[in-house]
């Protein structure tokens, strides 16, 4: 059945990841307990090869599978980033998983399937595809969160995440069905054409967009739809948290971009107002509630809420520049979160998660290099120059001011200052408090150590010479409008 509209070769990275996930699953069954490294190395190889395949597609554009698959610069670049992030997740977590008898083939397989879901989301050009990709991503994550079955908190986190995630999917689906009812098509480009006639004053369109934005905000973890986030982050095994805080952020940004920009840019006047509200609430809740946290993972969860607020500032701007800055922010945030959770994974050992802020007391005395990396990571999260986090915030504010949202920009800057407080508090504990006697860090995984070093130093070095990354991310959004 060779059809000119098929172009299945555009989807080679997706096909590769799917095929290899099945191979890993089977190999793991037959190789069994003794040789778990086989599955691990195979997964790493899968990700490396996927990155190469995606890279080789850079610059190609077009549609595949009868217009359901969209290959454009954004697809290639965002896919490349999620594959790289998945690779980081895997390389951070080998020892952690080994120590907690989580070093099992299913973990790698579910991770690969979650990545596949993200890839499908990124390249989707049809409401049906976007929904299916989202479900694949989410389903794999629910299972990963609850994977430690004996752990009560993990089970609770998994259940909460599952129920609220299902609610979010339902909201999104409701919005999609209304959009379908309005336009009579699932194809995003035909929706865009159909919306020209509908006009943004249509109250059904408003209803659809409200549902869509609520669903997306749920998945982003933007306040007031963030209730699942702290529990899920805290309860999940840290490598899973690591994954949840990085890959889905880019994937959900893609979901937003596909539905509300590729398809629903005609309704920008509606969703922009909704995102303004989300920004305000997220910035306040994210940055203020984080101050009260004593658990590092929980604090970083609220930091996610706040950062999603900053990201949404770029969305509010709504211009070419604004969307590009939001994508840039999503990428930068994903790498910062990877480094932060990677550090927690690195420091943990059996029976000790290194997840309380007080667990970091006097880190500089016992582990000076880790303390230095923590310094870079926290500075970057707080947006202190010359780290990349600073450039990300700067780009968002610039775009916002260009779009004449001065007061929102001022509010954002104020909240960034509030946010800096709790990041610096972590540093204060790590650098100036006396080390506790009874603390012994794991910190013995050379692979995680080197990856952590590269990841953290990259935050600094890219902050000093941000040009290439900025250009790369901005190129991705070329021509979306």
């Amino acid at each position: 059945m060779q059809n000119a509209l098929f172009h299945w070769s555009f989807a080679i990275p997706e096909i590769w990841v799917l095929a290899m996930a099945c191979v890993v699953l089977l190999v793991d069954v037959f190789v069994g307990e003794r040789q778990r490294d086989v599955a691990y190395v195979l997964s790493i190889f899968t990700l490396l090869a996927a990155m190469a395949l995606t890279w080789s597609q850079m610059g190609q554009t077009g549609f595949a599978f009868f217009g359901q698959f969209h290959l454009d610069p954004f697809t290639s670049i965002a896919s490349f980033f999620v594959e790289l992030l998945s690779l980081l997740v895997l390389s951070y977590s080998r020892k952690y998983l080994l120590r907690r008898s989580l070093y099992r083939g299913e973990v790698f397989v579910l991770l690969l399937f979650a990545l596949l879901g993200a890839l499908i989301l990124i390249s989707g050009a049809n409401l049906l595809i976007l929904y299916l990709g989202l479900e694949l991503l989410a389903l794999s994550q629910y299972a990963l969160v609850a994977f430690q079955r004996g752990n009560l908190r993990a089970t609770e986190a998994g259940l909460k995440y599952f129920i609220l995630g299902a609610l979010a999917s339902a909201l999104l689906l409701y919005g999609m069905s209304l959009l379908y009812g309005l336009t009579g098509t699932l194809d995003l480009h035909q929706i865009a054409i159909a919306l020209v006639n509908v006009g943004s004053a249509n109250y059904l369109l408003m209803l659809a967009v409200v549902f869509l934005v609520a669903g997306i905000a749920f998945k982003f973890g933007a306040a007031p739809f963030h209730m699942w986030l702290p529990d899920a982050y805290q309860g999940a095994p840290t490598p899973v948290t690591l994954f949840m805080s990085s890959v889905p952020k880019i994937a959900i940004f893609a979901l937003f971009l596909r539905i509300l920009v590729d398809g629903g840019y005609g309704s920008i006047e509606i969703w922009r107002q909704l995102f303004v509200a989300l920004v305000v609430v997220s910035l306040v809740i994210g940055n203020v509630v984080a101050i009260a946290q004593t658990n590092l993972k929980r604090m970083l969860a609220y930091s996610t809420v706040g950062n999603m607020g900053f990201l949404a500032l770029g969305i509010v701007a709504g211009t070419q520049n604004g969307l590009a800055s939001a994508f840039f922010y999503a990428v930068v945030y994903a790498f910062m979160a990877t480094a932060a959770f990677g550090l927690i994974v690195y420091l943990s050992r059996e029976g000790f998660e290194a997840e309380e802020i007080s667990d970091l007391r006097g880190l500089v005395r016992t582990r000076p290099w880790a303390a230095f990396l923590l310094l870079i990571i926290m500075f970057s999260l707080a947006g202190v120059p010359p780290t990349i986090g600073f450039y990300a915030k700067l780009a968002v504010f610039q775009a916002l001011i260009e779009a004449h949202f001065i007061w929102l920009a001022v509010f954002g800057v104020l909240m960034a200052v509030v946010g800096a407080f709790y990041y610096l508090r972590v540093l204060k504990v790590a650098l100036f408090d006396a080390p506790a006697e009874d603390l012994a860090y794991g910190a013995d995984d050379p692979l995680a150590a080197s990856v952590l070093t590269v990841n953290s130093l990259a935050l600094l070095i890219l902050g000093i010479v941000p040009g290439a990354l900025v250009a790369f991310c901005y190129h991705a959004l070329q021509g979306v409008l």
Binding site: M1, N3, A11, L18, L25, A64, F65, F66, Q68, F69, R104, E106, V109, L110, F113, L116, I120, N126, L128, I129, L132, G133, E135, L136, L139, S140, Y142, A143, A146, F147, R149, L178, G181, L182, T183, G184, N202, L204, L207
Partner: protein, 199 residues
């Protein structure tokens, strides 16, 4: 012929609606499950009336033949306290009704404004239309991509369910068929010379 079809349509729809209502009002969960089977059956009959024999039969095959059997399997083994389940019914009724009304209004609004309400009636079905083949061709060409993704989602669901529930219990006894087959005579049978000393 037309009249027969119409009468059958109303008969099947009526049974479908009544049994669907009974699914939620029946006092006994086993009855609820059985009414649901009846509802599926009538839905399948409606599909058949529309000439969609593939959908109708697949509905019976998958839902009635497999899903509901498992459902009954579980429901029959549970000891469900119905009084406790019904406790919140009146309390949640207003909210449920409100949501239902909103849903109905929204659907009416969509049908009112959108092109869906103005889709032309389908033409007569050609004499030797084979909707199984037509569905197959659509599903494996035009909708191949979502079809495959849906399959992957089901695969993930299987993996997740097994990974989250499979408990390896070392103390249970089970057969190792491979070992049984590979067993040699020597390991089971010992030849003993029973001839005693000569008298």
């Amino acid at each position: 012929m037309m009249l027969t079809t119409t009468i059958l349509f109303y008969v099947f729809s009526a049974i479908l609606l009544v049994s669907a209502l009974l699914v939620i009002t029946a006092r006994n969960p086993v009855y609820s499950a059985l009414y649901l089977v009846l509802a599926f059956f009538n839905a399948a009959a409606l599909f058949l009336l529309l000439g969609a024999e593939f959908l109708g039969l697949i509905l019976i095959l998958v839902y009635v033949g497999a899903v509901m059997v498992l459902f009954l399997f579980v429901v029959m083994m549970l000891d469900i306290n119905l009084e406790r389940l019904k406790e919140g019914f009146l309390r949640y009724l207003p909210l449920g009704l409100a949501i239902a009304i909103v849903g109905v209004l929204e659907m009416v609004a969509v049908f009112w404004t959108a092109p869906i309400g103005r889709v032309p009636a389908p033409g007569p079905i050609p004499a030797n239309a084979d909707n199984t083949r037509a569905l197959g061709e659509l599903l494996y060409t035009h909708y191949l991509y979502p079809f495959e993704i849906a399959a992957v989602i089901l695969l993930v669901a299987i993996i997740a369910a097994i990974a989250l529930t499979l408990r390896r219990r070392p103390d249970t006894k089970s057969q190792a068929v491979g070992k049984q087959v590979a067993v040699a005579v020597r390991e089971r049978l010992r030849m003993v010379d029973l001839r005693g000393p000569k008298p």
